[in-house]
Symmetry: C2
Subunit: 117 residues, 2 copies
DNA sequence: CTGACGTTCTATGTCTGTCGTAGTAATTAT
DNA sequence: ATAATTACTACGACAGACATAGAACGTCAG
């Protein structure tokens, strides 16, 4: 799956701190693994955001260390062992908190966007 | 000017990368200096965001180094020499770019916010 | 006139999330 | 066979925000 080079895209620096939300959102209904999540991020964002592999995998490490996700081995297929991640109850709480934070951030930053453009 | 401890506030980590927008917005009409800008951030955000002094002053350094703002000395009053900052043309361009980036970021992140809460 | 508080700014080092680069290894397509 | 895709790991660099500290001046109550 390639990415369309013509559509405008954002860097993870502008999105920094919200990778957690993105990951947790995508596994909130059923567990999933890295490569698949990566593809779903591109799909869900309409190709506007392509997460870097290292960014994603380091998010897994961080989230698991904090008890927000749990990992388990899946079947070996299409290119090696898959590690699946499942959201925990603490992860759901954390997700809700981060969503609230996001809404607040939007409110605040929007105050500093000039009406004229 | 104190801050109301009861209202919910955000940390600069959630807002990371958008300090520049905030500063540029506040000097887009007339130059201003650090302490004043700091107070205006709290006002404009309805006390939801209180920027840390170090964060603000390091933003000045960065913005000036990149040619987005210019500094000049103001009158000495109420506690020492004031350094004023004025936005440059490049700064105005940069501000517009960052605003566009912000809108895009909102679009993207909003895709990962569950409707239910 | 003194001391507390508010104003104005600087210095220095730490932490964290993202990124660049690189590499391993298996499966699938040509 | 070998290229491309899938799947993941390791390591070091960087930048923005932070904590802590301090210098130096102004104002105002007691």
């Amino acid at each position: 799956m390639e990415i369309d080079e013509r559509t405008q895209r954002i860097s993870a620096d502008s999105i920094r701190g919200y990778t957690d939300i993105i990951v947790l959102y995508l596994i909130r209904e059923k567990p999933d693994y890295g490569y698949s999540i990566s593809k779903r991020i591109r799909l869900t964002s309409a190709q506007k955001y392509a997460i870097k592999e290292t960014t994603l995998y380091s998010a897994f490490t961080r989230l698991e260390k904090n008890g927000f996700i749990e990992s388990f081995d899946g079947t070996i297929s299409e290119g090696g062992r898959r590690t699946y991640y499942r959201i925990t109850d603490a992860g759901r709480d954390y997700y809700r908190t981060k969503c609230r934070e996001w809404r607040l951030t939007k409110e605040v930053v929007d105050n500093f966007i000039a009406a004229t453009d």
